[in-house]
């Protein structure tokens, strides 16, 4: 799974909340428990003393004035117990019934809970007193288990409430983070649009945290475009510098002196043709921008009419030229690249067509498909591979469609597309080109 700020924030916040919640609730329970035990201890001590006070001297020696002690000592397993020992006598509270209190090793309060009857948990206090000149040992016990049970309940309720609070907090945090990250999301969407050729720049209006990023991206885009323009201008000049002398040489071939030397003329013509084709192909390739400019796009409705005007200009007398494209279709590639590809494709088709050439452009999912159909002689299936083969020589005129398709293939390769030669429904050749949109 890929890294996400939202997910990471949610995870860390959840962990923090859980750890803090557990720590706090445990600490709280511990404090309350301590307090309650202290309180019970005080109570037990008071009880022991009030039992002592309830001892009165009767006719048969010491007796316990039942009026002075609580009814809870009478009810079996009530949770309040006592044992009074003196002079080999041992009085047990009726509530103890047949249960023997566990032994306590030392006087005073015993910190540990002792097992009592019926799963009770007892806190025990033992005190030595002297009254009526007799040593009296009073042991009182109190059942602590109801407190423990309510602690457990409190823990369950607390855990439930804590969980609820956790969910609520996380939900709230999600909302807050989403709101805080909104500019980031907007920038992300804009970059996506940039790649799809729907915009050429990022919006400058962003929070200050994002400003450097957006500015840098825009600057980079501008710089790339400038570099591209500059290199194209340079290539244009180079082309001019190479092709004009070439044109002079070609025109010199018309001279009578050379016309008298047909062999020499033929060699020169062939070599000049090679140079010209080589220059044309390399300059075309060098001019391609490929994917250097993410914001660039080709607007079919805007560019195709002028391309077809140009085509009609050259071939319109003899051929019917048509194009179909989805309305408002934009190809996310640079205008010059696409024009160069379509221009060469159409020009090539026009050279071979008898009467009709058709161009169709369609978006299929993330891919853009281009078909150029003609009603010419087509290419034999056995020869198609030869035309498509990488690096096939430019002067291979045997298969006709050679040069034009060579340049098209260069462009398609630069744009990471595929080129296929098929049978056209019009009867001739169909060239199918599929370009994958770079947005994955």
């Amino acid at each position: 799974m890929r890294h996400s700020i939202q997910r990471q924030l949610t995870f860390s916040l959840a962990m923090l909340l859980i750890v803090m919640g557990l720590l706090l609730s445990q600490a709280g329970l511990w404090v309350v428990d301590r307090g309650l035990r202290q309180y019970t201890q005080d109570n037990l001590q008071t009880q022991a003393e009030s039992l002592l006070a309830a001892l009165v001297k009767g006719p048969q020696g010491l007796e316990l004035n039942s009026r002075h002690h609580d009814a809870v000592f009478l009810k079996p397993f009530s949770g309040q117990y006592f044992i009074i020992e003196f002079n080999q006598q041992r009085w047990r509270s009726r509530s103890l019934w047949d249960f023997e209190l566990p032994d306590v090793e030392h006087l005073g309060f015993s910190e540990q809970l002792r097992p009592g009857p019926e799963q009770q948990q007892l806190l025990i206090y033992q005190g030595d007193y002297r009254r009526y000149k007799t040593d009296i040992k009073v042991t009182v016990a109190h059942d602590y288990s109801p407190v423990l049970v309510s602690f457990k309940q409190a823990q369950i309720i607390g855990a439930g409430l804590g969980l609820l609070a956790l969910l609520l907090t996380l939900l709230l945090q999600r909302l807050l983070v989403r709101r805080a990250l909104k500019p980031l999301e907007q920038t992300r969407v804009q970059i996506e649009q940039l790649q799809q050729g729907q915009r050429s720049q990022l919006e400058q209006e962003t929070p200050i945290e994002l400003q450097p990023l957006v500015q840098q991206v825009n600057r980079l885009l501008a710089h790339t475009e400038e570099t591209l323009q500059r290199s194209r201008k340079g290539l244009g000049n180079l082309g001019h510098a190479l092709k004009t002398p070439l044109a002079v040489l070609v025109s010199l071939l018309q001279r009578e002196e050379l016309q008298r030397q047909p062999e020499l003329l033929a060699i020169m013509q062939e070599q000049l043709e090679h140079i010209a084709q080589r220059i044309a192909r390399e300059l075309t390739r060098a001019r391609l921008s490929g994917e250097a400019l993410p914001g660039a796009f080709f607007d079919c409705a805007e560019e195709l009419p002028s391309l077809f005007q140009l085509m009609n200009h050259v071939h319109g007398d003899v051929l019917t030229l048509d194009w179909h494209a989805t309305p408002e279709l934009r190809l996310p590639w640079e205008r010059d690249d696409i024009l160069e590809m379509l221009g060469n494709l159409l020009d090539n088709a026009c050279k071979w067509a008898d009467s009709r050439v058709e161009l169709s452009i369609e978006k299929r999912g993330e891919a853009y498909c281009v078909w150029v159909d003609d009603d010419g002689p087509g290419i034999e299936e056995s020869q198609r591979e030869q035309v498509q083969r990488r690096g096939s020589r430019l002067d291979e005129q045997s298969v006709g469609h050679g040069l034009g398709l060579g340049i098209v293939r260069d462009i398609v390769e630069t744009l990471h597309g595929t080129l296929q030669l098929l049978d056209s429904p019009l009867g001739g050749l169909r060239v199918e080109i599929c370009l994958q949109s770079s947005v994955k």
Binding site: T244, V248, S251, H313, D336, E340
Partner: protein, 224 residues
């Protein structure tokens, strides 16, 4: 036909001038974009061949200035810039045709002929035909009622101009301006001599004289 060639490569321009003159065009040659922008706007050219990589002022800018000044002279761009986007930009700037270097001279001459025909309303014709006459521009001959008549260079130039402007009254000075180079040729009565030659070869009615106005091409059909 008076052409303006704007090309900064001297060797190429020399070849082109010579070739075009052989084909019976009067050619003016300029190398600088600023000169071209001015002269193309004031001289009555029938066609302009324009290079794009010019010193002084870029070719496209020159073209844009002409079009902005409503100069509708057909312009053929002759350039090393062969990218399709540049061709489209050229046409958008107002060019009528676009030829890329290197090129075969024949191609250029055919384009020039076609463009001249088209700009005079003879579209979809690979041959100049008007009023029963068919002009073979490559061999400088004319076909009329099954006959093939050879023409001299001067006669060819004159007839071609007439055929491109059928039915229009053309003044002597207008014809001289578009057909002849240099003041000496223009001042003499060369024009009348050539008109008479054409009448002798093609029939008297082929060119009417409008007294005080000039000549009008009536064609062969007028004689029937």
């Amino acid at each position: 036909m008076r052409l303006l060639l704007v090309e900064d490569n001297v060797a190429l321009a020399d070849e082109l001038c010579a070739g075009l003159q052989r084909l019976g065009y009067v050619v003016d040659w300029l190398t600088d974009g600023r000169d071209a922008a001015y002269q193309g706007a004031v001289e009555p050219y029938d066609l302009i061949i324009l290079d794009l990589g010019l010193p002084g002022l870029p070719g496209l800018e020159v073209l844009a200035r002409w079009r902005a000044a409503a100069i509708s002279t057909p312009v053929l761009i002759l350039t090393a810039r062969s990218a399709w986007s540049e061709r489209i930009d050229g046409l958008k700037a107002g060019a009528d045709d676009y030829l890329t270097k290197p090129f075969h001279h024949e191609e250029l001459y055919l384009r020039v002929q076609a463009l001249l025909r088209r700009s005079h309303g003879f579209s979809n014709q690979n041959q100049l035909s008007a009023e029963g006459l068919h002009l073979d521009e490559a061999r400088q001959m004319v076909h009329s009622r099954g006959e093939t008549i050879e023409l001299t260079g001067a006669e060819f130039r004159l007839l071609r101009y007439f055929m491109l402007h059928p039915g229009q009254v053309l003044s002597k000075s207008h014809l001289a301006e578009h057909l002849y180079d240099g003041e000496t040729e223009r001042d003499s009565n060369v024009l009348e001599v050539h008109v008479n030659h054409l009448r002798r070869k093609l029939g008297k009615a082929v060119i009417e004289t409008r007294r005080g106005q000039g000549y009008r091409f009536a064609g062969c059909e007028a004689q029937l």
